[in-house]
Homo-oligomer: 302 residues x 2
Amino acid sequence: MDQAEWFAVDWGTTHLRVWVFGPDERLLTCLTSDKGMSKLKPHDFEPVLLDLVASYLGQGVCPVIVCGMVGARQGWAEAPYLSVPSLPPTGETGLRVTPTDARIDLHILPGLSQKKPADVMRGEETQIAGYLARDPNFFGTLCLPGTHTKWVQVSAKEIVSFRTFMTGELFSLISGHSVLRHGIGAGGWSEPDFLEAVDDAMTSPQQVTSRLFGLRAEGLINNLSAEATRARLSGYLIGLELAGAKPYWLGQDLVVIGAPDLSALYARALAVQGLPSRVQSGDDMTLDGLKAAYHALKEARG
Amino acid sequence: MDQAEWFAVDWGTTHLRVWVFGPDERLLTCLTSDKGMSKLKPHDFEPVLLDLVASYLGQGVCPVIVCGMVGARQGWAEAPYLSVPSLPPTGETGLRVTPTDARIDLHILPGLSQKKPADVMRGEETQIAGYLARDPNFFGTLCLPGTHTKWVQVSAKEIVSFRTFMTGELFSLISGHSVLRHGIGAGGWSEPDFLEAVDDAMTSPQQVTSRLFGLRAEGLINNLSAEATRARLSGYLIGLELAGAKPYWLGQDLVVIGAPDLSALYARALAVQGLPSRVQSGDDMTLDGLKAAYHALKEARG
């Protein structure tokens, strides 16, 4: 078995992913586990990680760069937020935790906080770092769609400000647990319904919570299909978000970073509003951000 | 045991209530059960009702006037919607169901539907009938707050149009199941936070889904109290609704009908916007509506 030179770790609420790097930047393997932060107590983290990577450890000390909810108050150890405006965190600004096992040298990257309006992120800052490692002169807005979608203003390598919208979580709650669950399929899609709903919500954001009940009524009296119901629900919520995020996208160079399907959906919603955007894979950006943090650490140590 | 002359029944999704009337409008008792529509199959309804009222049945045939989700497709029998504009339903326009037991004469009051924008109600139409029985010349708007809040335009004894907002259901989903659940107590309240949030959402409805996540952030970085979090969540959702319902309240005579605490909350939110309203008990209106339907039936039968 090859020995690792360092580990890049993305430890979120529900999952854990470890990229194992050998000498010369060679990716040896990527390990995954469903032992996310929400299932663990603080003292569980080290054994879970060691279980996963033990066979790649040798005699030397391996740096481990970690991002995500692992650094929250309920995580392995609380990595205090960096306050915006701020450069993205690096291995140097990470929280150094002394593990029980001397073979690992642990650095937890901090999230970002904003005082007014109050906002926080943990994990996305590393994707931003990854993007800026590729495009260091970027000046514009990054949109990171997900459970809690982030809109991030970037200038001169700094994260200047950001706003979070609860869009993904609302979609999941409403489609799975509200009265709309009766009329929504597990899959299926109607693109015209989606785009029309985006437009409607951007024009009349104040109508969204009545439009939502309207989907139920359309199902009962006009047999609205499950596909159309699902697409319109998504469209109303994303349209409401786009209306609120207008100061972030208006006249800005725009990059969407996230899971491919969801990013493509945002890009299509933006495109029909006449807003061009580029799409980047969230996983790639996370890994690039962890790599950038590792290299900064190595450099600082000479 | 007194014998009943008729029964007034409010059969909703989660609960069942039966008012038992003797001769001369005398209320003998009110019976309740948690056997709501969502727990029953169509053939369960008659035995559940008979179990509850059997001791009040004599040799004669007793009219039973029923409103609520009992008339939905998944209920006892589907009472097809009346389409607005429409007078509220009465015993005469109710669906007559032939029960197995000849001692009851069953009338299920239909709900209302609206073609465009698509909307439906089941239960509230009976509260509206109850209100109009007291105030037959009312010209204005009724607001019926609840899981699915209704705004109803009434003119010349008719229900002209209505809109439903998913406000109550969203409050319950977000406070109980979203990331905000960590920062929200089961009770407690902050009136200034509530009123400020109403105002904020009315001014900037497009910001509501980011304000929601902001509550989580305020909890994490500014220790926002559980009381304030709860009150603001409620305020943002009600403010968003008031912004959307503006065509219904602007310059209208306004009556709020519902559970006392919730109605009072709406009335306070409206008052700080300079909108006076009167409040009526939803239970009283339901009973009055069922009574009105019974009397219309009796009259029609001579």
